[in-house]
Amino acid sequence: MNHDEQPTITPELSEADKQAIDQLFEHGLATPASPDPRQQRVSDLLSLLGTPVQDEAHRASRIDLIDVMTRRQSDPRDAEVFLTPKGQDAVDAFVDAGYQADAVVAQHSEHAKRLEQIGAMLTDGAKPEHIGREDLVISTLGTIQNHIDSEQAAMQFESQRGFQLPARWADVVSIAAMLLLAFSVVMPILSGMRSSSQQQLCFDNMNQTANAFGLYTGANRDMLPMATAGFGPTWLDVGTTPERSNSSNLYTLIRNGFAGLDDLACPTNLNAKTGEPDPDAWDWESLEQISYSYRIMPRGGMRATSINEPMRVVLLADRSPVILRVVRQQPVIPEQNTPNHSSSGQHMLMLDGSSQWSSSPVLEGRDNIWLPRPIETLIHNERVKRGIEIEGNEQPAGPTDAFVGP
């Protein structure tokens, strides 16, 4: 037994044992004339360590004893029980046979069957794991996404704060020159490849979805996708009531087979749901699964051909950071970019089918795509006192007021 490998739990002696050891040391490690059971036991234990090694057999048994006692101190639950030698051989044979009792030689088969039954008890369980399965998957992905977000925020903070090196200026200049050289060669290749491949995938998604919108409106008297006529009033309510959430309006493209889940999944969103859609689903299951935000639909719907300047109407964009913050009850930052694409900017699909990349969510005329005009006006006039509040019943001020969500 390798004692270095024992768990690092630090065992602590009971007060009575400490006193017994102190008394033994006071007597020069000699057992008192009439020791109590505790003193006798401590004395026996310590005497193990002083036993002279006479031959290999004694040495082996002494190591076994020390092993047992050491393990006992590491964890008293494990110390005093052993398999019979035949049982030990059977365990080895069972492991060597890949935990298959059928593959074990006949002499160990009875033991191996027992070992297989033990394995079944340990690994099968009562199978309660399906309960809350989707919740755990989503919360795990959420934990990861939060980690990525906080890393990005920390990097942004660091880059704004600058950095200090405990080095001389000459060293700093040399290192900076080398780094500059290395970055100038490597970074454009690596960073460019990575972000451009992700952006290309998103552009492809936009184009694919533009086709889906075209097919949908063609089949639905020019009406843009809408889940139910009774939609509203809290379009923030993702995944619960399909007649309410704005994302269920966009999901109509998937439900009716005009687009796939993958077409509406940004590669930078780890929570994005992909693959075959559930035929009974009306919406994504949570806000975190959504990669793109859709124009907030007015009650009664919106006809694609009713607008004079379709090239100015934002139909779809990378997901809104404002809505994410509202739902997470965090302060809203109106000019924040989407969390997709490392917060460097967002794609937008316009009503005329064209798509574009913008490094800011604010368009011409100070039109913020994450907010309706009345709130933009409040911000512009500095009349927002307690932070921006969005309840999920806000509507675009007019056909050309860009406002997407959730």
Partner: protein, 201 residues
């Protein structure tokens, strides 16, 4: 559309590293039941197991670049999970009091031996309430120290050879063998104790 059905874990993990949408979710879903059961057995309760489950996949995400793609994903995942569980148990159980003078049951030769053939283990088709059996297994496991519980569960959940366990845990082969023997013995004895307690009730 992505169809992961015919892809191995390693292929899905590679797809995740290449930033394929949905790949990481697929891995989490694939291991949800198995890893959660393993962690529930290790930790003793579902809530703690769920916390470690999330920590494990966060760690896998952070360490993705270090994964050697020529190796198997499953042992790597379980080793990370076992490390996380061990750390958590260590924090929970730090500073235990050991009663040196607690009685040690001994046979004539000085040690207590377990004969597996004398242990009454229910076969899968036996009519025993699964939830009850699950609870008893958990009670029996709680009687094992973390080191033995870990080696027993890693071995059975992953069906690893001694050499693979030794490599994963970074301990000598001989230590793995003796721990496995002790772990089986300790579990068998603990099972006997809890199942007898049940029949006596």
């Amino acid at each position: 559309m992505s169809d992961w059905h015919d892809k191995s874990d390693e292929q899905v993990f590679e797809a995740f590293r290449a930033e394929a949408p949905g790949a990481y979710r697929e891995l989490i879903e694939r291991y949800h039941d198995d890893l959660l059961r393993f962690l529930t057995r290790m930790m003793g309760d579902r809530a703690a197991a769920e916390d470690i489950f999330q920590d494990t996949f966060l760690q896998v995400h952070i360490s993705a670049a270090s994964f050697d793609s020529s190796r198997r994903f499953r042992p790597w995942l379980f080793t990370i999970a076992a490390n996380k569980a061990r750390d958590s148990l260590r924090k929970r159980g730090r500073r235990k009091t050991v009663e040196l003078s607690a009685p040690i049951k001994k046979s004539e030769s000085g040690a207590s031996f377990v004969d597996l053939l004398e242990v009454d283990v229910p076969s899968p088709d036996e009519n025993m309430d699964l939830a009850e059996r699950d609870e008893l297994v958990q009670q029996a496991l709680a009687q094992l120290g973390p080191a033995l519980r870990e080696v027993l569960l890693l071995a059975y959940f992953q069906r690893l050879s001694y050499a693979q366990i030794a490599e994963d845990l970074g301990i000598p082969l001989g230590t793995v063998k003796s721990r496995m023997h002790s772990a089986v013995a300790a579990f068998a004895r603990a099972w006997q104790s809890v199942s007898k307690g049940r029949t006596n009730e």
